[in-house]
């Protein structure tokens, strides 16, 4: 198990390097003169040169990269051009909000998706199965931002039950969590269902029944543990979709997270912040996938012998 973990960690290193490289290149790939664009249209030539020197854009590119890496190790992501605050603190103040939203979304999708998938599989072709699959299909196709707006329309504007914006108590979290989690719920439901269907026809389920196990134990102990293995992988990948969806959901619900920060910074040409947020998002995703791989190894004892 330990060897597997070490191997897995080693495999991340080139990926991490690639991520850092891409994020680093982001500013430098902007067509035209990045310093000029960032300085804005009002800036004088002198301002542009100052900015260029400040951002280190005048140095040769490999030097820039090394400086970049060095700053990263110290936790320095640069300074926001808009607010003149360190990018790191801008991100860190808002990151918990995004985290809260994404985790809530993941929660919703697993809490609804897995049981729905299991019930659908066990009661194949029944009414509940058909309804669940229909809902899943529509959930898959519904754009998150539209869903958010419609939910606001229904629950805030028309019914007045739930608030439409900002972060706060749990009632503020409900609509955004459903919005951001809808697609994942649909995908997890489908995947759990097909996984369970495959497992239920396996021979070892017959053995479990032949020992006199009640059907509930057969499904939950014998079948589910096997069926969850591919679902876990999908759930991990879905976290990425959730992060992307968070960007849209934060915009709809005026949620104070790094997704909104990203969009605002793009329009303000605040590239250091854009860089920082992209880095944050992708690192979170990598970490989640690493965690998923470890969980996978725990669930499926066969995988360690890779």
């Amino acid at each position: 198990m330990l060897a597997y973990l070490v191997r897995r960690l080693l495999r991340i290193i080139p990926t991490l390097f690639g991520i850092l490289l891409i994020v680093f290149l982001m500013i430098r790939l902007v067509p035209g003169d990045p310093a000029r664009i960032m300085a804005g249209e009002q800036a004088t030539a002198e301002d542009v040169e100052n900015l260029r020197r400040q951002l280190g854009l005048d140095k040769p590119i490999h030097t820039q990269f090394l400086i970049y890496l060095a700053s990263l190790l110290q936790g320095d992501l640069g300074i926001s051009l808009r607010t003149r605050q360190p990018v790191m603190s801008e991100i860190l103040t808002r990151f918990p909000a995004t985290l809260e939203l994404s985790v809530a979304g993941m929660f919703v999708s697993i809490l609804i998706g897995v049981p729905a998938g299991v019930i659908s599989a066990v009661r194949r072709y029944s009414i509940s199965d058909n309804i669940a699959m229909l809902i899943a299909l529509f959930g898959l196709c519904t754009p998150a931002f539209w869903l958010g707006l419609m939910l606001i329309l229904l629950f805030s504007v028309t019914l007045g039950w739930l608030p439409a914006a900002e972060r706060g108590g749990i009632e503020h979290l409900i609509l955004p969590a459903i919005t951001v989690g809808m697609v994942s719920t649909a995908i997890i439901t489908r995947q759990t269902r097909s996984s369970m269907l495959e497992v239920i026809t396996q021979d070892y389920i017959t053995t479990a029944r032949a020992k006199g196990n009640p059907e509930k134990v057969v499904i939950l102990k014998h079948a589910l543990k096997n069926a969850l293995i591919p679902v876990v992988t999908i759930a991990g990948l879905q976290f990425g979709t959730l992060l992307g969806g968070a960007i849209l959901t934060e915009t709809v619900f005026a949620w104070p997270g790094i997704g909104r920060l990203l969009v605002d910074s793009i329009f303000a040409r605040d590239y250091p912040v854009v860089q920082g947020v992209v880095l944050f998002f992708s690192l979170s995703f990598v970490l989640v996938n690493l965690f998923v791989d470890i969980l996978y190894a725990y669930l499926d004892p066969r995988i360690v012998y890779d």
Binding site: G18, I22, M26, L29, L140, C141, L149, T241, L248, I266
Partner: protein, 295 residues
């Protein structure tokens, strides 16, 4: 008596299973109808659109759906139905072109990686891994942030985010087909590696590629609308569905129809492609086994 009851229930169950099969086919028909409707609107927009989508009429702004404007008007008095019809062109373009970009770069990438193995495989898959470690929407947003906000850049961005998906898919297929006899036969006749990959192996991978393309057109449409919603795609006054939603947000209390209809359209378009993809998967998959290798 009990036996008879059991038998009846049993037959009902068996028929219900058959019913579901028919239903699945009905879904397929629905999907195809939807897609045909959208394709039709895209091509014949000029003919079927009741108004000019860009025509501003401030006197008629925020009108609810009526007989004159079937889906109502937006905040600048433009007819929503017309804008949705013209928007079909944009969204379909985004969907299709991004998939073309994904195919153009992803398929060769994956094919060469799978076929050659070794260092090349590691390098190519390393690139793919890095691309895949960005959530796809984020990658698209980042690319648009760098290149600038426009429809073309949105298509490029989404296309790039789809490259690793195709690469992985094709690599998997190629890996499993690499050892088959027809490859050996082609080598024996002296075919170059290039020829083997593109004339022999790839045609046998077509089925999953086709299915995945259809599904990715669907996700491309949603991604395009998402970018539009954030203001990162087609710029006003282009009638893009996501952008329409975004601008309609502030009026949601007084004129919810501005948000409702474009969003519904997005959902229908995505539904159509998803249904088509599911159908293709069912149709092509079993036949895949019987698809004979082209030698």
């Amino acid at each position: 008596m009990r036996k008879i009851i059991r038998r009846i229930k049993w037959l009902e169950k068996a028929r219900l299973g058959a019913f579901v099969k028919i239903l699945e086919n009905r879904m397929a028909i629905l999907g195809i109808i939807i897609l045909l409707a959208f394709a039709f609107s895209a091509v014949f927009a000029d003919f079927i659109s009741p108004y000019d989508p860009l025509h501003i009429d401030l006197e008629k702004m925020l009108e609810k759906p009526s007989t004159k404007h079937i889906l109502g008007t937006d905040e600048l008095g433009r007819d929503i139905l017309s804008r949705i019809i013209y928007g079909t062109r944009i969204s379909l373009m985004i969907g299709v072109i991004s998939v073309i970009i994904g195919l153009l770069f992803g398929v060769p990438l994956g094919a060469v990686a799978g076929y050659c193995g070794g260092k090349i495989d590691n390098i190519f898959m390393g690139i793919t891994d890095v691309l895949l470690s960005f959530p796809s929407l984020l990658l698209a947003i980042a690319i648009v942030a760098v290149l600038g906000t426009s429809l073309v850049n949105a298509m490029i961005a989404i296309g790039i985010s789809q490259i690793p998906v195709f690469a992985r898919l094709v690599r998997g297929s190629v890996l499993s087909l690499k050892g088959r006899e027809f490859v050996e036969a082609a080598k024996g006749v002296g075919a170059t590696n290039f020829r083997i990959i593109f004339s022999h192996i790839l045609p046998n991978c077509l089925a999953p590629i086709i299915v995945q393309s259809t599904l990715l057109i669907a996700s491309g449409i949603i991604a395009g609308a998402g970018l539009g919603f954030l203001g990162l795609g087609a710029q006003p006054p282009t009638p893009e569905w996501g952008a329409m939603l975004s601008r309609g947000r502030i009026y949601i209390r007084v004129a919810p129809h501005i948000c409702f209809f474009p969003g519904l359209t997005i959902m229908l378009a995505v539904l159509g492609f998803n249904l088509l993809g599911d159908v293709l998967r069912d149709v092509l998959d079993p036949r895949l086994r019987m698809l004979k290798a082209r030698i």
